[in-house]
């Protein structure tokens, strides 16, 4: 019976209800729904995300850069519900094609946006209001190390004690260890009763977040966890052209060091940054995972009509 959908019709009806609730939420707040292309000329530069290609074109791994061009053009607050594609990502929480909810609020910082994400989750999932803790305090509490200063050796020692060190442990950088310990040790315990925000990340996990110069310096990034699963990732957005170019250059070098194909940076996006991206905060939320929580599903496959089959 392989022609039949994987998700039950009941879950598919739930998906439709959640989509409607999200659109109502944004309509009531005057956030404009937009669409940006799924197919484009630029791939993702992030060394740990691989684009799917179609000839010379790339399927988008996220609508982020196109939406920032809309912000630079003066769109005001915008949201989008779209498909995104990432090569090779398949598992109980990943499907190579997935649905993303992404939105931007000019004038917001990451705390103001966390407030809004919190309200959305309360409304859409009927959840309680969220808890909030800095990455530094959280890491110290669960792992016993300060993530802003811990070195590779200290992180590896802890990982070995909890049985989480991979075979090729010597190849891992500080950011890899932080991500691994977060994903394997901390994440399963987060947000069991109510949604949980982690914010202000170590600089090595900055991605596209703005840095705040204090001691230690932090990246104004946040993630949302609920029922032991990462649901969303957001930033007080980087708007500085020079800093953005430097981060693309870091990506390029790391891709080269890892022996990955070179990816050209997104020219029109850099032009938009030069023209001026308003100070804003943005967040991407995995819609399929939201449905997983609403449906109490343990695999993403059970909330997709037709998940991509593994060969």
């Amino acid at each position: 019976m392989t022609w039949k959908p994987q998700a039950s019709l009941e879950v598919l009806r739930l998906r439709a209800r959640l989509l409607a609730r999200i659109r109502n939420f944004f309509e009531a707040r005057g956030v404009l729904e937009v669409e940006t292309p799924v197919l484009g000329h630029a791939g993702v530069t992030d060394p740990f995300i691989e684009s799917l290609r179609s000839g010379e074109l790339y399927l988008q791994t996220s609508p982020e850069l196109a939406m920032k061009r809309l912000l630079a053009a003066g769109s005001g607050p915008i949201f989008q519900i779209c498909k995104a594609f990432r090569a090779g990502e398949a598992g109980t929480r990943h499907n190579p094609e997935f649905t993303m909810l992404e939105w931007y609020q000019p004038g917001y910082d990451h705390h103001a946006l966390m407030d809004e994400v919190d309200l959305l989750i309360q409304e859409v999932l009927e959840a309680e209001s969220a808890e909030r803790e800095t990455f530094g305090a959280l890491f110290l509490r669960y792992v016993g190390l300060d993530p802003h200063t811990a070195d590779r050796n200290a992180l590896e020692r802890v990982a070995r004690v909890v049985g989480e060190a991979p075979f090729a442990a010597s190849e891992l950088e500080v950011d890899d260890w932080l991500n691994l310990l977060m994903a394997r040790v901390i994440e399963p315990q987060l947000g069991q009763d109510r949604p949980f925000f982690v914010y202000d990340y170590p600089v090595c996990l900055k991605a596209l977040a703005r840095l705040r110069d204090e001691t230690p310096p932090v990246a104004e990034r946040f993630e949302l966890y609920y029922r032991g699963m990462e649901l969303a990732n957001g930033y007080h957005e980087l708007t500085d052209l020079r800093e953005q170019r430097a981060r693309f250059e870091d990506d390029r070098k790391r891709r080269e060091a890892l022996g990955l194909a070179a990816v050209h940076e997104d020219g029109p996006f850099l032009d938009a940054l030069e023209a001026g991206l308003p100070k804003s905060a943005g967040v991407a939320l995995g819609f399929d995972r939201l449905v997983m929580i609403a449906a109490s599903a343990t695999s993403i496959r059970d909330v997709l009509s037709f998940p991509l089959d593994t060969p």
Partner: protein, 190 residues
């Protein structure tokens, strides 16, 4: 020599070498933060000890394959220390030690076909057939008419193994037994 596998070549059922021990992959899952290095969580069973273990592997790593072969062999005899088997195709003989035979020894009878796991051409595991037929060599006299099989008694089989059987089972009868549970299934009509 077995080859090595890249992370995206890993599949359940694949035999791999972990800390020099042959293992079989039971389950795989992707661990991938939105931003950052992808890892794969591999759940595997040690083929020698049966222990279930888990390991995180980084994308780009490779894992050594284990030269493991599963095949059918005929059980010949035991000399008290080793259990001897023959490959019915090559007539080549193999010996298995007590660790490899394990609980299978309770059911082994000459000429029985067993599935064996070979690692580097040495038997590391023996699995008896799911059902075996063995003769009763010792039991209390059967009670005729008690076909309901209520209550029960013990019976010693020709392999020396003692099992619980219904009261009507007679000395000299052949019984069908489930080797996975060690339970009596029925009498074999001769």
């Amino acid at each position: 020599m077995a080859s090595s596998y890249g992370i995206n070549q890993l599949r359940t059922g694949l035999k791999i070498l972990v800390d020099n021990a042959p293992c079989v992959i039971i389950d795989l899952d992707l661990v991938k933060p939105g931003k950052g290095q992808a890892f794969t969580r591999v759940k595997f069973r040690n083929l020698k000890t049966g222990r279930m273990l888990e390991k995180t592997v980084k994308s780009g790593e490779s894992i050594e394959g284990a030269d493991v072969l599963e095949t059918e062999m005929q059980y010949l005899y035991s000399d008290g220390e080793f259990w001897h088997y023959m490959d019915p195709n090559s007539y080549e003989q193999y010996q298995a030690d007590a660790a490899a035979v394990g609980d299978a020894s309770k059911w082994l009878k000459e000429e029985m076909q067993c599935s064996v796991t070979l690692y580097n051409n040495v038997i590391i595991q023996v699995t008896p057939p799911m059902f075996v037929e063995l003769e009763v060599i010792e039991t209390e006299p059967g009670i005729r008419g008690d076909t309901a099989g209520t209550g029960g008694k013990t019976a010693k089989l020709e392999t020396g193994t003692v099992v619980r059987v219904p009261l009507f089972v007679q000395l000299g009868e052949k019984l069908k037994l489930d080797t996975r549970t060690g339970e009596y299934v029925g009498r074999v009509k001769v």
